[in-house]
């Protein structure tokens, strides 16, 4: 794949530098230029350590927080508290109320759903419509697809195919991530594209899901987090007395 590829969901344990380093090294070897690693909400030191590990392997790091709120109020509170501390905010939607609130909030970047509990995957047409009016993306993790077998995998593929079709109908961006903590389960970007064909993503949209879409989120958020950002389309070009 010629484009820069990104894996926004790499479960590297920031406390275990050896495991994290192994995962980042593998990501670099497989051709990823950017990795997203979820951190605990109070983990400034770990972020510094991981940034150094990533720099050593020539990979860009995007700091990510995975919010798992029990109700919409908790989600709003968490967003107020953590939005400006992380480059990526993902919400694991455990209930329908949380899913709806997350889809209509412009501070949420990624909508993630329970991987194996199919009854709690709330990405339906109403959710997609809300997400399409905001900036949220649908994230699909490949981990369960690799680990499940038989009827469970069939059911997962059926669910994912339905969700992908809904997302495409409403122009909701899709991102495909690995979601793994074991380097043996990591796949090359082209292999991710091939695996995406199993749930109805053709080569073009699948390539966008591993490169263009994740990179666009990071670019947008880094711009917003920069001190020169004022509002979308407005930024400070120069400071000083002569301005």
């Amino acid at each position: 794949m010629k484009k820069n590829a990104a894996d926004l969901h790499l479960h590297a344990d920031p406390n275990n530098t050896e495991q994290a380093s192994k995962l980042v090294r593998k990501a670099a070897k497989l051709g990823y230029r950017l990795v997203g690693i979820p951190f605990q909400t109070q983990a400034q030191e770990q972020m510094v350590t991981m940034r150094k590990v990533c720099e050593d392997h020539g990979v860009d790091l995007a700091t990510r927080v995975d919010l798992e709120p029990r109700n919409p109020e908790e989600l709003l509170r968490d967003l107020r508290r953590y939005r400006r501390r992380f480059e990526l905010v993902a919400v694991l939607c455990e209930s329908k109320n949380v899913a709806r609130q997350a889809a209509k909030d412009r501070r949420v970047d990624i909508l993630n759903f329970p991987q194996i509990d199919f009854r709690r995957r709330f990405f339906d047409r109403a959710e997609a419509e809300l997400a399409s009016n905001c900036l949220a993306c649908l994230e699909i993790d490949l981990r369960p697809l690799l680990l499940l077998e038989g009827a469970d995998r069939v059911r997962l593929l059926w669910t994912l195919r339905k969700e992908v079709a809904t997302a495409q109908d409403f122009h909701v961006p899709i991102i495909v991530s690995s979601g793994v903590s074991d380097d043996m389960l990591m796949r090359k970007p082209m292999e991710v594209v091939a695996l995406s064909s199993l749930f109805g993503l053709t080569n073009g949209p699948a390539a966008e899901a591993v490169s263009t879409n994740p990179l666009a989120i990071i670019k947008r958020n880094r711009e917003k987090l920069s001190p020169n950002f004022v509002a979308p389309g407005i930024r400070i070009v120069r400071r000083g007395k002569d301005c």
Binding site: L30, L145, L146, E149, D182, M184, K188, E191, A194
Partner: protein
């Protein structure tokens, strides 16, 4: 008569232990059959051309229409001889000569 267009894939076997060529092909066929069934597997035209147990590399041939199917099947391999393993595609080419040149095998 319609000519069959073929693609050759250079593969890298990522595993702690070496596996024999027959074991490798059993795993590959198993993955293709699991994902696409026996009818789908019969359409791939998959065959092993070369296997190097020391270097952990292999060359397989597939029909060009089945390339994506085989790629997806190879990516779905997670175990070989009950040990964690992965198979990565190094490069794809239309001839063995060009493939060896590209993959530096």
């Amino acid at each position: 008569m319609k000519t069959v267009r073929r693609r050759y894939l250079a593969l890298e076997v990522d595993s702690c232990e070496g596996v024999s060529s027959s074991e490798f092909m059993n795993v590959v066929w198993g993955a293709v059959t699991k994902l696409y069934g026996e009818v789908g597997a019969s359409q791939t035209g998959l065959s092993l051309i070369d296997y190097d147990q020391q270097k952990k590399t292999a060359i397989v041939r597939v029909g060009h229409k089945a390339l994506d199917m085989v790629r997806a099947s190879l990516a779905s391999i997670t175990q070989m001889s009950n040990k964690p393993a992965a198979v990565h595609v190094l490069t794809v080419s239309g001839t063995i000569k060009a493939l060896k040149k590209k993959a530096k095998l």
